[in-house]
Symmetry: C2
């Protein structure tokens, strides 16, 4: 367990940062909260999720552990401008959805006495702001810790401990490249598909005829445009290659359809059915 004597801070009190604050406060950790939006800080204080907070980065001067729940570019810029305020030997972690570029940028500039263990809580809804903070979204979710050779065992274990305090269903460790390639397929490509399907044509006249299949498939077409533009650009090569592979797959299906190749269509359906069954929740 992380000692209650350790001072923890969260920078960025949005949906994710707010949910971290709520979950850690529930476990009796005394948190510092930082956000440029003072209403978010007041909201967290009023609910006793943080014991002190504000927009002043010098509030971090005594923090042993700092969790960054910011958009990736904001996170990098914040470190550039404000890392002078970190306590000597502080441990920092993050929540961003891509890792190679973030690690590259942060490790290039980070003070040598501060350790960064990257992590990715695979949770979040299509809404933003601390008023949507909700720890229940962590319970079915995966938490991915993404250590590098620079990280100490102790620091990695501290970040895993945070995931456990927050009740994540599953904590796994991946290297940065494997993480970004995996995310390019299971998360980013699926968002590109949903967005592109909604953008294929004006379709408001179809609302009355739509069933659950279409609704489920396009749910994530409601997307935070600023955040996902950053995430996609920072994983551009992986994502572009995943899009190409998917387009090849769908055009292969189309060819079987146009040629009325019944055997091949059925083979593709049987394969997709078998593969998808493995993904059913146990």
């Amino acid at each position: 367990m992380i000692s209650k004597a350790k001072k923890m801070a969260i920078v960025g009190l949005g949906q994710i940062g707010g949910s971290y604050a709520k979950g850690l406060a529930r476990a009796n950790y005394q948190l510092i909260g930082i956000d440029i939006d003072l209403e978010a800080v007041e909201f967290a204080k009023r609910l006793n999720w943080i014991v002190e907070g504000g927009d002043d980065p010098s509030l971090l001067k005594d923090a042993d552990i700092v969790i960054f729940a910011l958009y990736p570019i904001t996170f990098i810029d914040w470190i550039k401008e404000n890392q002078k305020y970190f306590k000597e030997g502080a441990l920092i972690t993050d929540v961003t959805g891509i890792k190679v570029k973030v690690l590259e940028e942060i490790n290039k500039i980070l003070r040598k006495d501060v350790e960064f263990v990257a992590s990715h809580p695979m949770a979040g809804r299509e809404v933003s702001g601390i008023k949507y903070a909700d720890t229940s979204m962590f319970e079915p979710a995966n938490f991915i810790v993404v250590p590098t050779e620079n990280n100490s065992e102790e620091a990695i274990n501290t970040v895993i401990e945070i995931a456990k305090i927050l009740n994540f269903n599953n904590v796994v460790s991946l290297d940065p490249c494997t993480h970004d390639e995996m995310i390019g397929f299971v998360s980013q490509l699926t968002h590109v598909i949903a967005v592109s399907l909604m953008n294929t044509k004006e379709n408001s006249h179809l609302v009355d005829y739509t069933g659950d299949s279409f609704r489920d498939l396009t749910r994530i077409a409601k997307i935070n445009d600023k955040l996902w533009t950053e995430l996609f650009l920072m994983n551009k090569d992986n994502l572009a290659s995943e899009i190409d592979d998917f387009v090849e797959s769908i055009l292969y299906f189309k060819e079987a359809l146009v040629e009325e190749n019944i055997e091949e269509m059925r083979r593709l359906f049987i394969q997709s059915t078998q593969r998808r069954k493995l993904f059913d929740r146990k």
Copy 2:
């Protein structure tokens, strides 16, 4: 209301035919059930969903209304072989998911004293067989009646009445071409996308990292290969054209990504978000 004196029959006691039987029996209609699978017939009899049944098409000789819950090609073949058993003046309807080809084939061969009103209950799960019969799937669903100029007002109203007895949420009328084009986009294209995403690559190693987005988007990749091959081939031109439009849309997005065109990526995200919001359940 359809008079209880009318004799109704269902041909095909699978998931959909069984659910029709269950729902109509609950409303006290006395049904005849026909299936080549005598176990399905016994199942329906045991639960009092049908009062008589078997595999013999001559059981239909007194039926005023016959509902066909068969795969499209099986339905057409059945009519060819067995329509001699219909009562004079019988009304028939169906449940198949495409309409232009089915109407074309059926109307080419159907006895002139029998009236066919096509319909499409937009319900069903990724399972098959009467043991999965469940009327609750009709309650949130759309029922589409697809009349042609040959249909009488009375026959159309009888089919709409069946949908109401089964508690469909919404009953709408579409012409056959509009129906098939709509289905090509909201149903068939979404299935092609889910199937093709699962078929893009071997992905069993990703099971542990998968969140709800991927699961929701690929749920319909578990697909009845025989049924959907028939449905896709009977709507081939519409579906091939929808696939082309979607591929154009996703490649347009990829271009914006590769060129790091932030403004255009954000515009596409904002558009997809606005369009998708209209599809949220009220």
